[in-house]
């Protein structure tokens, strides 16, 4: 086995806003930084760079911010390790990657984890049909590939991403056939004052609304998808009304013919790496779910492990930048590169900004929070875990057979045992278990994180070896 590359003081996992800013800040303060991302360029979800070969560029304030930060990164002394998939993170702090040249290993005394969030899926019968895709995936299509959706597509879900995707495609001449919004106008109005605290974003929001209104897209407020239908792929969906908590209620159902659906119900923090390393976790409903316990600088319960960005609680891109700055400074301080005075001085402004932004980020997080009543409305035969074909009724049966925590649920049903390791189903399955036992989410626990962080092919791990080179351990006793 090749020995790990050890020439970094800090490794930053994830090249979104949080990761980029922390990497730049740490390197400006004297640390040797390696920034690792699966993509070929930095930017993460929100600042995702367009693919060189994509048919049309995507103009937006985010794209411009992303380009600016990519320029700053290019001028910094951060070493960018892109196009590498992180599959294992172990003690103090060893990171195993899979790149174009196979398996590589890096090790550094400080680790900043900024791996973002996953999409929350609230299942309905038919959600696994081809043609149904996530809202975050839709934004990738839009930002990176400039791809057009099929003609008759519907957009469903909750939160600002709904408006952003609708407006983005409407401007490109591909408006959705209908928008199905779990929230009602009153929820949006309630968020207005905090939205107004960020004039730039407020303007952007108004722009979205104008695009949507001018393209005359029908909007179904306080509605959700009841089911998707189709033979080999989606051909129609049925929608129905919900109450303020997201619970399905009686009322007219509407059938809409469509050949694609983009649906998203908020985000779940992607906290696998801190969990894998054994950092203390806490459940914070309003921040999207289980997150590592952190101080304001992103310091976790493990020495020299920092968690920032949406992976440490859903707070959005602006907060992620500040969190990146704070963690970069903290790493520099904790590594002895800046003294306590300089640390306090440099972080004071960022801490203040962080506080100022929190009204906005809280309001956004509130809009995309999990609605327990919506989960309670999921039908018995809906598939929850698509990797292993586990339905709601299978989960309920396991709960009644005595499964009380999510990992026991996994053993009883295989839910979460597939290649996504519960990233898709985990939040909802845990909620179903908690509701079945009338326990809070803290009590049913979180899914044990396991390597690989993403599925990787065995072939790619092999390298070129002879049988004789495999370091087979000593035989077991006879």
């Amino acid at each position: 086995m090749v020995s790990p590359h050890c020439h970094f003081d800090v490794l930053v996992l994830g090249g979104g806003p949080a990761g980029m800013v922390s990497a730049i800040t740490a390197s400006q303060n004297g640390l040797r930084v390696g920034l690792i991302d699966e993509q070929s360029e930095a930017g993460g979800q929100i600042w995702r760079a367009p693919w060189a070969s994509s048919p049309q560029g995507y103009e937006s304030p985010e794209a411009r911010d992303g380009n600016k930060m990519r320029d700053r990164l290019a001028l910094s002394s951060v070493t960018c390790l892109f196009g590498r998939r992180i599959w294992s993170v172990t003690d103090r702090y060893r990171v195993d990657l899979l790149g174009a040249d196979g398996v590589e290993t890096f090790q550094a005394p400080h680790l900043i984890v900024a791996l973002g969030a996953h999409e929350r899926v609230i299942p309905f019968p038919g959600w696994t049909l081809p043609g149904v895709m996530g809202l975050a995936a839709a934004t990738i299509m839009l930002k990176a590939h400039g791809l057009a959706p099929p003609k008759d597509w519907v957009l469903a879900g909750v939160g600002p991403l709904l408006a952003a995707v609708a407006a983005g495609y409407a401007r490109k001449g591909h408006p959705p056939k209908a928008i199905i919004d779990l929230s009602g106008p009153s929820d949006w109005f309630a968020a207005l004052p905090s939205l107004a605290s960020r004039p730039g974003l407020f303007k952007q929001g108004v722009g979205w609304v104008l695009s949507i209104v001018s393209s005359r897209i029908p909007i179904y407020f306080r509605h959700a998808i009841r089911r998707a239908e189709g033979q080999d792929r989606i051909s129609a969906c049925l929608i129905g009304p919900v109450d303020a908590d997201g619970k399905s209620i009686d009322g007219p159902e509407v059938g809409i013919a469509c050949d694609a659906m983009m649906v998203g119900n908020g985000l779940v923090p992607g906290g696998e790496v801190p969990r894998l390393l054994g950092a203390d976790q806490v459940y914070r409903h309003e921040l999207g779910g289980w997150i590592p316990e952190c101080d304001p600088f992103g310091r976790t319960s493990l020495e020299h492990l920092y968690a920032i960005g949406d992976g440490a609680g859903i707070r959005g891109g602006a907060v992620a930048c500040i969190a990146g700055k704070l963690a970069g400074l903290a790493a520099a301080h904790d590594a002895g590169r800046i003294d306590a005075g300089a640390f306090a001085h440099q972080s004071a402004q960022a801490l203040a900004e962080h506080r100022k932004l929190s009204a906005f980020s809280d309001a956004m997080a509130h809009m995309i929070r999990l609605r327990p009543a919506q989960v309670a409305s999921i039908e018995a035969d809906a598939v929850i875990c698509r990797c292993e074909d586990v339905t709601r009724q299978d989960l309920v049966a396991a709960a009644r057979a005595g499964a009380r925590d999510v990992n026991q649920l996994k053993h009883f049903t295989r839910c979460g045992m597939g290649p996504c390791q519960g990233r898709m189903c985990g939040d909802v399955a845990a909620e179903i278990l908690a509701q079945e036992h009338r326990l809070d989410r803290q009590a049913v626990g979180y899914w044990t994180a396991r390597p690989p962080l993403r599925p990787i092919s065995l072939q790619s791990m092999l390298g070129r070896v002879d049988y004789a080179d495999i370091p087979i351990p000593k035989p077991a006793p006879l």
Partner: protein, 373 residues
Amino acid sequence: MSTMHDLIVIGGGINGATTALFAARGGMDVAVIDRGPLCREASGVNAGTLTMQMTRVALIPYALRAHHMWATAREWLGHDVGVVVCDGLSLAFTEQEAELLAFRAGKRREAGAPITLITGQQALQIEPGLSDKALLAGHCRVDGYANAYLTGLAFRTALLDAGVTLTENNPATDILQTSSGFEVVTKQGPLRAKRVVIAGGVWIEEMMGWLGIDLPIKTLVNQLAVTERIPTAMRTVVGIANGLLSLKQYPHGTVVIGGGWQGSGSREGGTCSLLPERLVGNIRLACHAVPALKDARLARAWTGFEAETRDALPAVGPVPGIHNAYVIGSIHSGYTSGPYLAKLLADQILGREPDLPLFPIDRLLKPEPLAQG
């Protein structure tokens, strides 16, 4: 005052749970205490291989009987743990390994395991998924595997049906000896019984300490990996001569890759982590044996704690010097043989003569230090 049980079993892994089940079926009032849910440590995370070709020679007679128990689990356990009985192949790729295999297979055969030696070509006929690089193979008809993660569900139902008092998520912290038996101190309060069985897996050392007995137990940290579902690549259990590989494909399509490559961690903190280079080593070996695995993706890898005594033979029997206290654990390939040894222990506790001898721990206890002068 809490009820006086006939028997308390501390630790609800395969060993504790089976002992409790047979003691209860034999008429005793039994309680099981586990720190977590049933069978979520070694007994829920192991590779589920039910093979003779990795079993220690001294355990072969037990493992053969235990294999039969697993194959008929529905009858005595009442629940399916996904047991598949199939052929097993232990491969040798080099001259040295062939020599080791011939020696080891011979010893196991003498102990009763129906292992025959066949050529690599013959092995290919039995398992077309194999690489053509094997020189020699041990072939055993008594082999197979279970779905270890279903063990907890199965035993939970069976124990409750047998009237056992189950307290899960309830760590024991001490055992007090009283005039009428034992009081087990637990998080949820004391439980009392006339008899006690210590079945805490790698934690039996600590538990024996509560009784003032020093039984050193080494902790192994075994790594395992599983692929995502793939088309049928193999139908047998495949290992290698020195025991450091176990491979089988489950009916739902995943392939579990194990063999006892060691991770790192300690039982005290309960934390363990995988050593990535060992995982890579294990996977190289797996793909060498069954080349089609190269096309699979790794879905998950994990570790679990396995107990080992000084002589790597089981600790099963009465606790010396303490009337009505028993211990069971540290059984090599213990998922395979555990149920049978636990049944034997239950027989002894019920006052019946066990069909085969137990493995009393007197041999493992440190001699009293000699008095000075």
